[in-house]
């Protein structure tokens, strides 16, 4: 419960109200008027609240805190009016079953009040002068001190300009697990301007050994909220945006659009492909890591620079890989996800500073059991349907021969092929295909194997949204000896 009081706070009465038989801990914080501020003496403070908004926001903070720390009960009172030195300006009491959640919740309430409550204070000085201070604005201004990042901006590779670039940057972190936690922590520390966190999960006790943003106090809480709280304490200058949901084919574009770098810290191939393809389509660099027990992989994908995720898995889709590679819930060496997550943060910061070097053209393999590190060149695959490297494809499959029969069919030629031809619409991962004509097969563009099956049975006519993948697929099929592979340039098949 949150209240605003214009008369002195009665701590004893509030403690009585907080009492509950199931609460083994009561943590109380009192914010008091002190006699100095920023080196100047202060004689008294006058608080003024935007009353309605302050009550709403204060109530929201209390509710949010009780959700973040399950099992806590919060009582909070903020004063308005004239207060003398030593008087209580804000009183926060948290009753909880155990002390950990109580301390954490109490800390959360005061930090959020300082950050969000629309309350101003007027400082009176001994010389008779007085000035208004906006509490939330003060909290943010204090955070933007140069000293915080001074040991980083002193690097010649960063400098004041690089630091400013980081402060203007928007970074999306998808997944707040063993990778996302350390990645987000180091990104916040580096001073990126805005961090958006996406995860629909709740903190579980079995997460804690590696998911370093969370403590035993947050078990059961939404990961995004718990992480945001921790990251704001770590660097108040960073704007933290939370999305308490899973990443899906439906929301991915909205989440990726406008970001400068995206970190894939998820644990399954389905999400990895959806996120990769959205980043590819929107031209946003993607830093992807994955871990199996003691070992991990790191890839930096940037459109047009090195191979993409599909280049590595030509003809195989997320479902195939999921069956073999997904070990969500399996054993994991905490430091392995820690190292890989921090490497993701490092790559993201390097991308923002234009210092990514060879990272965008390599897969790095890291083994923390035998300490072996390996960089593998990741060129674009000439048959990759996503990269659509048609220039390379031409040189690798002798285009004169492959294109002896034109790839493209007009409606009359299409009619001539008749029912003998299988018409296929290649749907991009996450794409909702347009209405197609009767008899048109919709095949995921990641499923080269299925297209090959159709091509082996007879003529195929391919279309897709932009015409690039269908052309690349058709050329590939011709290179494999399927002369009757065609494309048709409209998206309804």
């Amino acid at each position: 419960m949150f209240e605003i009081a214009s008369t002195p706070i009665d701590s004893v009465a509030l403690q009585t109200r907080l009492a509950a038989p199931d609460a083994g801990a009561a943590v109380i914080f009192e914010g008091r008027v002190r006699n100095h501020h920023l080196g100047r003496p202060v004689t008294r403070l006058e608080y003024e609240a935007y009353d309605e908004l302050a009550r709403l926001e204060g109530g929201a903070i209390v509710t949010e805190t009780e959700q973040l720390y399950p099992g806590t009960h919060v009582l909070c009172v903020h004063r308005t009016g004239m207060l003398q030195v030593g008087e209580t300006a804000v009183w926060i009491g948290v009753a909880s079953a155990h002390r950990q959640a109580g301390f954490a919740a109490c800390r959360h309430v005061i930090e959020e009040l300082k950050r969000r409550l629309p309350i101003w204070k007027k400082e009176y000085h001994p010389d008779g002068l007085a000035e208004w201070v906006n509490c939330p604005a003060e909290a943010v201004t204090n955070a933007h001190d140069n000293e915080y990042h001074s040991r980083q901006s002193a690097l010649p590779e960063v400098g004041a300009e690089g630091q400013a670039r980081l402060a203007a940057a928007r970074v999306l972190v998808v997944g707040l697990g063993g990778l996302g936690c350390p990645a987000a922590l180091y990104l916040a520390g580096s001073g990126v301007g805005r961090l958006t966190l996406v995860d629909g999960g709740r903190v579980e006790r079995s997460n804690l050994h590696r998911q370093i943003l969370f403590t035993t106090a947050e078990v059961g809480a939404a990961k995004t909220l718990a992480a945001a709280t921790r990251l704001r304490l770590h660097n108040p200058a960073v704007e933290i945006v939370t999305r308490d949901c899973e990443l899906t084919a439906t929301n991915v574009r909205a989440l990726v659009a406008g970001q400068d770098v995206v970190l894939d810290c998820t644990d399954n191939f389905t999400t990895r492909f959806i996120l990769h393809d959205a980043c590819h389509a929107l031209g946003v660099p993607l830093v992807q890591a994955a871990v199996h027990r003691f070992e991990g992989t790191l890839d930096v994908f940037r459109r047009g620079d090195g191979g993409c995720l599909h280049c590595q898995w030509i003809g195989r889709d997320a479902a195939d890989l999921e069956s073999a590679g997904n070990c969500a819930g399996g054993p994991v060496f905490g430091p392995a996800v820690g190292v890989l997550g921090i490497m993701q943060a490092a790559e993201a910061v390097k991308l923002l500073l234009n210092r990514e070097g060879e990272s965008t053209r390599q897969t790095r393999l890291v083994n923390l059991l035998d300490n072996s590190w390996l960089a593998i060149e990741r060129p674009a695959h000439p048959a990759c349907p996503v990269c659509g490297r048609i220039d390379q494809l031409r040189t690798s499959v002798a285009p004169e021969k492959a294109d002896a029969v034109p790839l493209s069919l007009d409606p009359a030629q299409l009619a001539a092929l008749g029912a003998a031809a299988t018409r296929i619409y290649l749907a991009e991962p996450g794409e909702i295909p347009p209405p197609v004509a009767a008899g048109v097969q919709i095949v995921p563009s990641t499923d080269l194997a299925r297209v090959r099956e159709f091509a082996a049975a007879g003529p195929v006519v391919l279309t897709c949204r932009h015409g690039l993948r269908s052309a690349a697929f058709a050329r590939l099929l011709r290179a494999e000896g399927r002369a009757q592979a065609y494309v048709r340039h409209d998206s309804t098949g």
């Binding site: 990778l179 644990d267 199996h292 070992e295 073999a324 590679g325």
Partner: protein
């Protein structure tokens, strides 16, 4: 020519390393492609992982399973990894 054995450096990653029980191997083989080499190693080391779901790199560069192998090549078999 076909009988001549190639000496190769093989590295396994993740679940393959666990199945093989080692990270690295020196092999002398009559196999001439990563696909043939993997089939040979599958038998020798009881690797159950399907070749269709592997990536392979030769001399620190992703390669097709049909890439011709030469003496001294470094071959890494990389299964899909998705944990996070």
């Amino acid at each position: 020519m076909a009988d001549k054995l190639l000496r190769l450096h093989v590295r396994f990653f993740a679940v393959l390393r666990e199945q093989a029980g080692c990270s690295t191997l020196q092999v002398e083989t009559s196999s001439r492609t990563p696909a043939a080499l993997y089939a040979e190693l599958q038998e020798k080391h009881a690797l159950s992982f399907p070749v269709a779901l592997l990536r392979v790199s030769v001399n620190e560069r992703y390669a097709d399973l049909a890439t011709p192998l030469n003496a001294g090549d470094r071959v890494v078999f990389i299964p899909p990894v998705a944990g996070g």
